[in-house]
């Protein structure tokens, strides 16, 4: 006869070792973050949501035999006909994780569950935030009155009872020493005007730690799913980063074609509309919302625009004008073009500098009136311009706009 015991465990015994393992994995996680950011499934989720990411495992090294001709293995062939020299398995180069028992040579990968918050931690741990603070995260300040020291003059509500009483007691002691007052006699020792002390209030700058982020996106016909997908990953990252920095953060989504409207997050990413492109419409809506709801004195305002750069030429001027007025109230504006087919401007320049054949001025001419070129003069620490061609550039671009060398 055997015995049976229903085990009711109170502790998860593997928890501590899993935690320790996870710590070791953090490095590996950081390395796979690029892939994670490019992954659609993590975007638009709240921070508590758990995501699974594939991570290269930490190897436990021991002496093993190499996988070569001298190290023959055996296996069973089931019902298959076998011949000497018959090729089996896949080519190594294509082979991913090997599950060959007792053979750890194959790259071991497995999934780890982390929350989006953890992910953000890993992401921004790299970024040397203290430096960033000074450079790019100016908090708005607002004066608040704070008590600082005491004065003899003041209004009644600021009377410091403690200090007043202290002065009265001192005066009473002096009076006793000078025999001007007999403590044993049933005699009153009243307050005097000179006893009164008041709190002094001094204005004190207070950092304002609430922020509002405007995500603006072109949803016109030319914005393909691929482009939107890149935009989404990019916005996610920005959101997580700012959320990390500020106590309170609000997000406003504005999508536009030739007209713009404030939309919900879901609509922002999912709705596809046809039509032309007038960037100024979105900027106008933003300005309107700022004026109504987010006063620049109490909100740190960030604006991130994503489009494919195919703004109507007639609209470019008004868009640039609006951008420069928005720049006055924003902590940062980033104008982003997502064009999967374009070469990166730096590469273009490089190509141009090494090009020895005839130049075609007309080609460059065409670019002169584009949004990209027109906002060049706005560029400074508050205004950034960015070109994304692939989703795996997001992370590096992100570091770039915040002034970090990758």
């Amino acid at each position: 006869m055997s015995t049976f015991r229903e085990h009711k465990s109170i502790v998860d015994r593997a928890a501590a070792d899993r935690g320790r393992h996870k710590k070791k994995l953090e490095k590996a996680i950081k390395e796979s973050i690029k892939d994670v950011i490019a992954d659609e499934s993590i975007i638009g989720q709240n921070g508590k949501k758990k995501i699974r990411i594939a991570v290269k495992g930490i190897k436990e090294y021991r002496f093993i035999y190499g996988n070569n001709e001298k190290n023959g293995q055996a296996g069973s062939g089931g019902k298959h006909d076998l011949k000497r020299g018959q090729r089996i398995g896949e080519k190594r180069a294509r082979k991913g994780a090997s599950d060959n028992a007792g053979n750890e040579q194959g790259e071991e990968t497995y999934e780890v569950e982390i929350t989006l918050e953890d992910l953000a931690e890993y992401l921004f741990a790299d970024l040397e935030l203290p430096d960033l603070d000074k450079k790019h995260f100016r908090y708005l300040s607002e004066d608040v009155m704070r008590r600082k020291g005491y004065r003899f003059e003041g209004i009644r509500p600021r009377l410091s009872k403690k200090e007043t009483l202290k002065r009265k007691i001192k005066r009473k002691k002096r009076a006793i020493r000078a025999s001007a007052h007999d403590p044993d006699a049933n005699e009153r020792f009243p307050f005097h005007k000179n006893d009164l002390k008041y709190h002094y209030m001094k204005p004190h700058p207070k950092e304002n730690t609430s922020a509002v982020v405007f995500f603006l996106m072109d949803v016109s016909g030319s914005m393909t799913t691929e482009k939107k997908y890149i935009a989404r990953s990019y916005f996610f990252l920005l959101y997580q980063f700012l959320r990390h920095k500020y106590d309170k953060i609000e997000v406003v989504f504005i999508s536009h074609t030739t007209t713009a409207s404030r939309v919900s997050e879901d609509e922002f990413f999912q709705r596809s509309t046809t039509g032309g492109t007038m960037m100024s419409s979105a900027l106008e809506v933003e300005l309107e919302i700022i004026n109504k709801e987010y006063h620049p004195n109490s909100w740190n305002i960030y604006t991130f625009y994503a489009g494919d750069g195919e703004n109507w030429q007639s609209d470019n001027n008004s868009a640039v004008n609006l951008l420069s007025s928005l720049k006055e109230v924003n902590q940062m504006i980033v104008y982003t073009e997502i064009s999967p087919n374009r070469t990166h401007p730096e590469e273009e320049e490089e190509a141009a500098s090494t090009w020895t054949g005839p130049t075609f001025a007309a080609w460059r001419e065409e670019d002169r009136d584009s949004m990209w070129t027109m906002c060049t003069h706005l560029m400074d620490t508050k205004f950034k311009r960015l070109l994304l061609t692939k989703s795996d550039q997001i992370w590096d671009s992100f570091k770039e706009i915040f002034g970090i060398k990758a």
């Binding site: 015994r13 002496f63 093993i64 996988n67 001709e69």
Partner: protein
């Protein structure tokens, strides 16, 4: 939802035990722990031991097992038993009744094997749990000691784990202390009539090849503190628990499958249990294409032995053999052919593996040898301590059997050993027919 009650478990257990006894099985009492999925994964990560010292590698094992089961790469766990007295086994509460019946019958097979196979004769199963418990407690105090802490503990454990299988492979042979060994060799020199020991230096360390690298380092390193030596000793002791199991994996599983099949056939199970039982049983013993499924191999060998020589012969075989002798004795041409075994290797030139030998009259012996050279501890290279020089440089040598080491891994392990030893070390091996020195 479960389809069983504790009463039913007791009912079937009683029957299984009755039937098991009629086959002449003799097992330790079994304590079944009924646990949920997460606890099962936990228990599996710690190789079934209800108590074990902490190390991140078990956390890793947990994540990996969990991932595998979630991905459906592996069926749900059903059996795990540890060699203690009483035997401890786990039943996963989410499993249906027919799996419990199979597990319980299977566990009796394992427990009987632990109790009777001579490879396990020296394992003192009564002490298994207390030993692991004491080790867990000791490691915990080190981790909590502010002057030591988890990082330093891990440094020693990581390095020790890298060479945990570099211990003698024959269970039950006592390690001689240096003074005892010195006496043995002094006697040999005294009795030497042939001049064999004329040049023998009785002061050299070690006096003979030492295959127990962990113990050697623990005894002879001049750079270790006491708690570090104790930790190394804990890892070394743990290995002794696992070695008999590694030496008998195929037999042990084969035996347990044979017994669960025989027992269940006598139980007169109702169809609602018997049909799913058969399905599961067939899954367990199916061949894994291109690999060796120990359940499949062991079961088929026992099955044929029973058909040819009767069950008594099986009982005897489960007592006296280990996997190597078992396969050498019973894996003949007919068996190799029946199981359609083949050998293969990875060809650098083609970047692909191809079949070297099949189990026909010409090839089956080579197939068998390939198989034997890769089972259990045979898949782990043998490294021994050759010499400790005057300046404490440690000379290690790989016992090369034709198979080269994986150099990337060897390099890492080399670093671990040097960290542990604390003085210089050399490691000699053969790579592509040339002597190679690390």
């Amino acid at each position: 939802m479960t389809d069983w009650t504790l009463d039913e478990l007791n009912h079937w257990d009683e029957k299984i035990c009755e039937v098991g006894a009629t086959f002449g099985l003799n097992w330790f009492d079994i304590d079944y722990e009924i646990i949920d999925y997460h606890e099962m994964i936990s228990a599996m990560s710690y190789t079934g031991l209800p108590t074990h010292y902490r190390h991140w590698s078990f956390g890793k094992a947990y994540e990996r097992t969990h991932t595998l089961y979630n991905a459906g790469a592996s069926g749900l766990p059903y059996e795990m038993i540890i060699n203690s007295n009483p035997s401890i086994s786990y039943l996963m509460s989410e499993n249906p009744m027919h799996i419990h019946i199979l597990t319980m019958a299977h566990c009796i097979g394992h427990s009987d094997f632990f109790k009777n196979n001579r490879t396990f004769a020296q394992t003192s199963p009564e002490l298994v749990i207390p030993k692991f418990k004491a080790a867990a407690k000791y490691v915990k105090t080190l981790i909590e000691d502010p002057s030591i802490g988890i990082q330093e503990v891990e440094d020693i454990l990581d390095a020790s784990h890298a060479i945990k299988y570099q211990v003698p492979r024959f269970p039950g042979i006592k390690r001689h202390s240096r003074s005892a060994l010195k006496q043995i060799y002094a006697q040999k020199i005294l009795d030497d009539n042939t001049g064999e020991y004329d040049d023998f230096d009785i002061h050299k360390i070690p006096l003979e090849r030492d295959y127990n690298i962990l113990s050697f380092i623990m005894e002879h390193s001049r750079n270790l503190t006491e708690w570090q030596r104790n930790l190394i000793s804990i890892v070394e002791e743990n290995s002794h628990y696992f070695i008999p199991q590694a030496l008998t994996k195929i037999m042990n599983e084969g035996w347990a499958v044979l017994m669960h099949e025989k027992i269940v056939q006598e139980l007169n199970l109702p169809d609602k249990y018997y049909i799913p039982f058969l399905k599961l049983h067939n899954q367990v013993v199916r061949p894994h294409l291109g690999r060796i499924n120990p359940y499949h191999l062991g079961y088929n060998i026992f099955k044929r032995l029973e058909a040819q020589s009767g069950f008594e012969a099986c009982l005897l075989a489960r007592e006296v053999h280990n996997d190597i002798t078992f396969l050498r004795n019973y894996l003949d041409e007919e068996m190799c052919q029946a199981l359609n075994l083949f050998s293969y290797s990875y060809k650098q030139k083609e970047d692909q593996s191809s079949i070297d030998e099949t189990s026909d009259a010409l090839g089956w012996e080579k197939v068998r040898d390939s198989l034997i050279s890769n089972i259990g501890l045979n898949s782990i290279p043998v490294i021994y301590v050759e010499e400790m020089q005057k300046d404490h440089t440690l000379i290690l040598r790989h016992e090369h059997d034709g198979r080269d080491l994986d150099m990337k891994y060897a390099r890492k392990v080399f670093d671990y050993i040097r960290d542990l030893w604390g003085d210089e070390i050399n490691l000699f091996t053969v790579l592509e027919n040339d002597l190679w020195e690390f």
